[in-house]
C-alpha cells in the first residue's frame, strides 16, 4: 500500500494507506485507549473507547476500525472525546464489582488504568449490581463474571489465535456472558491465552489466583524450560523463607520471540521448582549402601578425589578414557560448554554425549557452508510458503504452531503438510499429503522427481507441483528425519533458491547441547575432534580420538569397562532401559534437580538448580539464542556451572584456564571467524542494530517497560563487564563466542532480551563426519502438558493432563476429525 499523509491532533503522520488509525497513532506515540481492540485479532468496535473525531464526519469514529487515507484530519483528545470515554467507563463501572483490592488484575488492569485516566470516580447509580459467583472452568482457568467487560478478546484469542474455539458468548444484552464450550467447563488446550488477553481480572489462572499483588513480585523475564521453541516467559517472583518463589508465569511485556504467545507449559509449568521431590541436599552413598545427606564441601571432596584418582590411575581400568560424561538437554549453553571442556581438558576424555532427541549434527553437516539457509523461528511467522514434513507442532512445538497459524491468518501463508498421521495444523494447510507410515524418506525422492518413490498416493503430484512452484519455501521437518535422510532432504532444498530449513527438536536446549559439543566426536560448533583446529591450542592434551556415545558408555559401565560416569541433568538409565544393578561397579555421579532413575543408583547426587534458578543462554531448535535470567532461588541447590567449577577446582585444575574470569579475561568478541585450521571462513557480519529494549504503551498487562537494565546491557554487549567470579557463566560465553563460529553473537540484542539467530552454515565444511546412527536419537514426543522428567514433577501440568484426558480425547485427535 502506498503511504498516505494525514493529520492527528495537529501532527502530520504518514502510514501505508489502509493502516488502522489506532495502529498508526500508536506508532507515532499517540495512544488511543482501547478495550476490545487487540492487535492481530479481528476487529469488534464493541467497547467504543477508541472514539475519535474525524473532520467532516458527523459522528465520533472508532479508531480501531478507521483506516487512514490521504488528507484525513483527526482529533484524538478533546473535551467531547474525553466525555465519551468517561461515560463508557461510568457505564462499565456501574455493574463492575470494583473489588480491585483483592482482584488478581489489580495494578495490571486496563479498566483501572482507564478509570485513572478518564475519571468516572463518582457512581451514578444506586441500584444493586448484577452479581454472579466465580466459576472454575478448568484446573487452569477461572472466570469471574462480574468483572467481565465483554471485550471478546478471550473469544477471539481462543478461536482465531489458538484455533480452539472453546469460548463463546451466551445470552444477549446485559445478560450476555462469556461461556465455555463444555457448558460449565472448558475442554481445550488450556494455554491460558484467554487469561493473558483479558484486560481485566475476569479470567484468572489457578496458579496465580489470590496469591499476591503484582507489585510485590519481581518480574524476571527468562526462557521457558519446557520445549524446543524457547518462549520468553516472565516469572513473577516473591521472596520466601527458603529463597525466592515463583508465583506466576506469564508473557508480561510480549517482547520476546513468542510475541503474544505462551502455552500451558510456559505459563503454568513452573511449580516443579518447589516440588517436594526437589533435591536440596547433596547425597553420598554410605557404607550401608544408602544415600545420605552430606554438606556440599564433603560431597565435592568425595567427587573430586574419586575422579582425580580414576583419571590419574595407570591401571587398565583407569585414566580419563575410563570416565564417561553425559550432559543435559535443559542446561545452559555455558554449562554444556563447560561440561565438555571439563570432560576434555580436566578429565581428559572424549566420552561425552547427551541423550540426543534430534540429529542436529546431521542437520548442521548438511547445511555446512550454506549461509542464511537456516530459518529462525521468526521466519515461520512471515514465510510465504511453508512445507511441514513430519512432527506435530500443535502438541510438540506450540509456539511454532501459533506462528504458522498467525502467518496463515495475517498473510494467507501457504502451508503444505506431509504427514503419516493426522495433525491439527492441517486445518490451515493448503494441501496435505498423507504419507504411508514412516514414508518420510521416500518423500524426498518423490519431491526430487522420482514418481514411483511414494507408490500410489492421492494428490501426490499436485502436492509436489504446488510445492515446487513456490518461489520461496520454508521447509520444517520433524525428528522422523535423521542422518542421511536429512542430508538428502536438505540437498533437495539447497538446489533451489530461497529455501530455508528448520529441524524440530525437543527440549529447551537440546540444540545448545549439540552446538556446545556434547558429542564424543564433535567439539563445540561441530568441529570434529579429529581435526580440532583452534581447539588444539585452547584445550591442552585434547585427544583427537572420538569417545563413546551415551548408550556405549552405559553398556561399558555395565560391563565394568568404565570406572566412572558423570551425569548432568539427564536420566540415561531410564531412557536407555539400563539395568541399574549392572552399573554397580562404576562410580556414578549425578547432578540433577530430582532423584531420577539414574540418580537413585548414583554414588553421589548433587542437587542442581533448575533453568529458572540460574543465568546463561539457551538455543532453541531454530538456532535462536536467548538470555536466561535467574528468577527463583532454592536453598541448598547450586547451578551446574558452579558445581563443575568447584569439582574441577577440587581436582586441582587451573580454574582460570577452565573459566576465563578476572583481570585479563576481557575479550571483545571478534566479529570475524577465529583462525581455524579449516577451509571455511564465514563472511564477517555487521552487528545488526538493536531491535529495541522493549516497553509498550501501557496497553496490555505488561504496563511496565521492558526489564532490561540499559546500563548493564551496554556494558555486557561491549564485553566491558569484568567477570569477577569463576562462577559467572558469561565468562564461558566470552569463550564460546571466541571459539564457536556460529555463535558470533549480537550481544546488544541478546542482553536487551532479544533473540539472536545463529548460523549453522558457518560450520566448517571440513567437519563432515560419518552420519549419526539413527538409533541414537530418542525423540521425547511431549504433548501439550508433558515435558519429560520436569513435566512429571510439575503438579499444574500433571493435573491439566489428567483433567483433559478425563474429559476428552487428546486434543489433536479431536481436532483432526
Amino acid at each position: 500500500m502506498p503511504d498516505v499523509t494525514f493529520t492527528v491532533d495537529g501532527k502530520k503522520l504518514t502510514a501505508p494507506a489502509g493502516t488502522l488509525l489506532i495502529e498508526a497513532c500508536r506508532k507515532a506515540g499517540i495512544e488511543i485507549p482501547a478495550f476490545c481492540y487487540y492487535p492481530g485479532l479481528s476487529l469488534q468496535a464493541a467497547c467504543r473507547m477508541c472514539v475519535v473525531r474525524q473532520e467532516k464526519v458527523p459522528k465520533l469514529q472508532t479508531a480501531c476500525t478507521t483506516t487512514v487515507a490521504e488528507g484525513q484530519v483527526f482529533t484524538t483528545e478533546s473535551p467531547e472525546i474525553t466525555q465519551a470515554r468517561k461515560a463508557t467507563i461510568e457505564l462499565l463501572l456501574g455493574n463492575h464489582p470494583l473489588d480491585c483490592p483483592v482482584c488478581d488484575a489489580g495494578g495490571e488492569c486496563e479498566l483501572q488504568d482507564m478509570t485513572f485516566r478518564y475519571g468516572a470516580g463518582e457512581s451514578l447509580y444506586t441500584e444493586a449490581k448484577n452479581h454472579r459467583e466465580e466459576q472454575k472452568w478448568s484446573p487452569a482457568v477461572y472466570f469471574d463474571r462480574p468483572r467481565c467487560i465483554l471485550c471478546y478478546r478471550c473469544v477471539r484469542m481462543c478461536g482465531e489465535g489458538m484455533d480452539v474455539w472453546a469460548l463463546g458468548i451466551a445470552n444477549r444484552g446485559s445478560s450476555a456472558i462469556i461461556a465455555p464450550n463444555g457448558g460449565d467447563h472448558l475442554d481445550c488446550e488450556q494455554c491460558g491465552m484467554c487469561i493473558d488477553a483479558c484486560p481485566v481480572g475476569a479470567l484468572t489462572s489457578d496458579t496465580y489466583r489470590y496469591k499476591t499483588r503484582p507489585w510485590e513480585m519481581n518480574h524476571v523475564s527468562t526462557v521457558c524450560t519446557h520445549c524446543g521453541d524457547g518462549c520468553k516467559v516472565t516469572l513473577g517472583v516473591r521472596q520466601v523463607d527458603d529463597g525466592a518463589e515463583i508465583v506466576r508465569g506469564d508473557n508480561r511485556d510480549k517482547s520476546g520471540i513468542n510475541g503474544d504467545f505462551l502455552c500451558a507449559k510456559g505459563r503454568f509449568g513452573f511449580d516443579f521448582v518447589d516440588s517436594k521431590d526437589r533435591l536440596t541436599k547433596p547425597l553420598v552413598r554410605n557404607a550401608a549402601g544408602t544415600l545420605e545427606p552430606v554438606t556440599w564441601e564433603h560431597a565435592i571432596r568425595v567427587v573430586s578425589n574419586k575422579l582425580k584418582e580414576i583419571r590419574d590411575s595407570k591401571t587398565e581400568n583407569g585414566g580419563g578414557s575410563s570416565i564417561g560424561v553425559i550432559g543435559s538437554n535443559t542446561g545452559t549453553n555455558e554449562e554444556n560448554y563447560l561440561l565438555q571442556k571439563f570432560a576434555r581438558t580436566v578429565l581428559g576424555t572424549n566420552n561425552i554425549d547427551h541423550i540426543r532427541t534430534t540429529d542436529y549434527a546431521a542437520f548442521v553437516r548438511a547445511m555446512a557452508g550454506h549461509e542464511h539457509r537456516a530459518a529462525s523461528l521468526r521466519d515461520t511467522e512471515t514465510a510465504k510458503a511453508i512445507l511441514l514434513i513430519g512432527g506435530n507442532p500443535t502438541e510438540e512445538h506450540p509456539l511454532l504452531a501459533w506462528n504458522i497459524r498467525t502467518n496463515f491468518r495475517h498473510n494467507t501463508a501457504r502451508l503444505y503438510i506431509a504427514t503419516d498421521s493426522p495433525i491439527k495444523l492441517e486445518r490451515q494447510a493448503r494441501q496435505t499429503l498423507s504419507l504411508p507410515v514412516e514414508g518420510y524418506e521416500s518423500l524426498t525422492a518423490f519431491l526430487s522427481g522420482d514418481d514411483s518413490a511414494l507408490g500410489e498416493i492421492e494428490n501426490a503430484k499436485t502436492f509436489r507441483e504446488a510445492v515446487n512452484a513456490e518461489e520461496s519455501l520454508l521447509v520444517i521437518f520433524g525428528q522422523e528425519f535423521r542422518g542421511a535422510a536429512i542430508e538428502s532432504l536438505v540437498k533437495w532444498g539447497l538446489a533451489k533458491e530461497n529455501v530455508k530449513f528448520a529441524y524440530l527438536g525437543d527440549y529447551a536446549n537440546s540444540r545448545g547441547a549439540a552446538d556446545m559439543g556434547l558429542s564424543p566426536d564433535l567439539l563445540p560448533g561441530y568441529i570434529p575432534v579429529t581435526t580440532p583446529g583452534a581447539f588444539a591450542e585452547e584445550y591442552p592434551n585434547l585427544s583427537t580420538q572420538p569417545g563413546m556415545t551415551a548408550p556405549e558408555m552405559l553398556d561399558a559401565g555395565c560391563r565394568g569397562e568404565l570406572a566412572a560416569l558423570y551425569i548432568v541433568g539427564s536420566d540415561p538409565v531410564t531412557a536407555y532401559g539400563t539395568d541399574p544393578a549392572a552399573l554397580k561397579r562404576a562410580f556414578v555421579v549425578v547432578q540433577d534437580i530430582f532423584l531420577t532413575g539414574t540418580a537413585a543408583l548414583a554414588d553421589v547426587v548433587l542437587p542442581a538448580a533448575s533453568l529458572y534458578e540460574k543465568a546463561g543462554t539457551v538455543t532453541n531448535t531454530f538456532g535462536d539464542i536467548q538470555l536466561v535470567k535467574k528468577a527463583a532461588d532454592k536453598a541448598g541447590v547450586k547451578p551446574d556451572f558452579e558445581i563443575l567449577v568447584r569439582i574441577a577446582g577440587g581436582m586441582g585444575a587451573d580454574v582460570k584456564k577452565l573459566v576465563p574470569f578476572g583481570r585479563g579475561s576481557i575479550t571483545v568478541p571478534a566479529v570475524t571467524a577465529p583462525a581455524l585450521s579449516v577451509d571455511f571462513v564465514p563472511t564477517p557480519r555487521p552487528i545488526p542494530s538493536l531491535r529495541g529494549i522493549h516497553g509498550d504503551l501501557g496497553q496490555s498487562r505488561g504496563a511496565h517497560s521492558g526489564e532490561a537494565d540499559r546500563h548493564a546491557v551496554w556494558l555486557a554487549a561491549r564485553g566491558l563487564e569484568l567477570r569477577l567470579s569463576p562462577f559467572d557463566p558469561l565468562a564461558a560465553l566470552d569463550e564460546i563466542e571466541r571459539l564457536v563460529p556460529s555463535y558470533k553473537l549480537d550481544r546488544l540484542n541478546l542482553f536487551a532480551g532479544n533473540d539472536v539467530h545463529s548460523e549453522p552454515g558457518f560450520v566448517p565444511v571440513a567437519s563432515l563426519t560419518a552420519p549419526t546412527a539413527a538409533e541414537l536419537i530418542l525423540p521425547a514426543h511431549d504433548g501439550l502438558f508433558t515435558s519429560g522428567v520436569l513435566g512429571d514433577h510439575t503438579k499444574a501440568l500433571v493435573e491439566l493432563n489428567s483433567y483433559q484426558e478425563s474429559i476428552s480425547q487428546p486434543v489433536a485427535e479431536a481436532a483432526a476429525d
Binding site: 476487529l43 469488534q44 468496535a45 464493541a46 467497547c47 467504543r48 473507547m49 472514539v51 458527523p58 459522528k59 465520533l60 476500525t65 466525555q83 465519551a84 461515560a87 463508557t88 461510568e90 457505564l91 462499565l92 456501574g94 455493574n95 451514578l124 447509580y125 444506586t126 441500584e127 467487560i149 465483554l150 458468548i169 445470552n171 444477549r172 444484552g173 446485559s174 445478560s175 450476555a176
Partner: protein, 436 residues
Amino acid sequence: MPKLTSHPDEVKIISKRFGMGAANIDRYIELGGYEATRKCLAEGSEWIINEMKASGLRGRGGAGFPTGLKWSFVPKQSAKPKYVLVNGDESEPGTCKDHLIFLHDPHAIIEGTIIAGLAIGAKMGFIYLRGEYRYLIEIMEKAVADAYAKGFLGKNIFGTETEFQAVVQTGAGAYEVGEESALMESLEGKRGVPRIKPPFPAVVGLYGGPTVINNAETIASVPHIITMGGAAYAAVGSERNGGTRLFGISGHVERPGIYELPMGYNLKKMIYEVAGGVRGGRKLKAVVPGGSSTPVLLPEEIETLGMDFDQVGKAGSMLGSGGVVVIDDQTCIVEFALRTISFYQHESCGWCIPCREGTDWLKKSLTRFHAGFGTKKDIDNIQYLAENMMGRTFCPLGDAAAMPTLGFVKKFRKEFEDHLDGKPCPYAKHVEVALV
C-alpha cells in the same frame, strides 16, 4: 385473520389485494400478478433501476433510504454471488404492517424479490421472517413453492434463460436481527450481532457477496411501481417521498389499524379522521410518529405535520417504520418511557458497552423512578445516560433506545418531577398503553 380496517382517504396500492385471497397463486395471477416480473424480464436491469429511481420510493424499514439509489450501488461485476434479502423481521413496537403483506399478498413479496434480483443481477433471494411470525411461515413457504411450481422461480424463470431462486428463513426471536448486517449474520447461522461498516452490504453482504437488503413493504411496493410506472407512483406522494405507505395507528384511538395513505398525509388528520380520534373523547397528550424508537411529538407539533421522511425529520423526530402510537392524557409518560426502554433493554444484543449497559441502567433507573423512589438528580442522570448513548453505539439500536428517552425527559420533565418525593405515580389510573 385480523380484521382489516379501511378509510376513504386511503390510496390502496400495496394493500389493494388485501382480503382478496391473493395468497393463492392463481387468484394472484387473476388479479394481475406476475405481470410486473414479465415486464422486467423484458426490459432489463437498467430500466428497472431507472423506474425505481423515478418512483421516489424510500425504504420502509425505517431509515428512508432511496431504494433505486441503493440498488444502483451494487457492483455490476462480482466474483461472489449477489443476493437479494427481504427484511421481514418487523419487531419495532408500534409496527405491524409487514405481517399484513405476508398474510394477504405473499406473492407481491416474491415478485418484488425477483425484480430486485433482475435489477442487481442476483440469482438468489432470501425472505427473512421475524422469529415470532410462526403463523406466516407456512403461507410464505407455500407461496414460494407455488411460484416454483409455476416456473416463476427456478433455473429458467418464466421460460427464460434467467435463474432466480428464493428461500424463506426465520429468525430466532430478536429485534436486533432486523438491523441489516445482524440479519445477515443470523441468516448465516451466527449470533445476531451487527457487522462493522464499511463495507456496506451492497458491496460485501450475505456470505460476502454484494447484497441488496430491503424492508418487506419496500419490496412489496416494487411490482406496483413497475405496473403503474415510477413517475405515476411518485406523483401519489409528497416531494422526494414517492407513493404511499402502510401506517399502523395504535394506542388510544377509536379505530386502530393499518391504513395505506399517501406519503405526506397530515398526522393530525390521521389521528382524528382516519383513526377516529382519541379514544373516549379524551385529550391527546403525545404521539410517537414512527415506531417506538422515534422521539415523541406534542399535540402542537402535529398540527400541520405531513407524514413523510423529511417533514417528520424537520419536526425533530423520524418517520421510521410508520408506526404511529397515540397517547392520551391519562397515560403516565414515565411509565411509557419505562416500557419503551424495557423493550430496548431486552432486545439490546449486548455487543457494545453504551447500549448494553446504558439500556440496562436506564431501565433500572426508570423502574425505581416510576416506583416513586427517584431523586431530582435521577432525572439529570437519565438524560445524561441517554445523551451519552446517542451516536456512540455500534449500531443504531442504541440511538433507538436513547432518542425516545431523551424526548420524554426533555418534553415531559414536569411529569418526571411529579414522581419525586416518594409520591405514587399521579397518572397511574390509566396505563394500558396499547403497544401492538
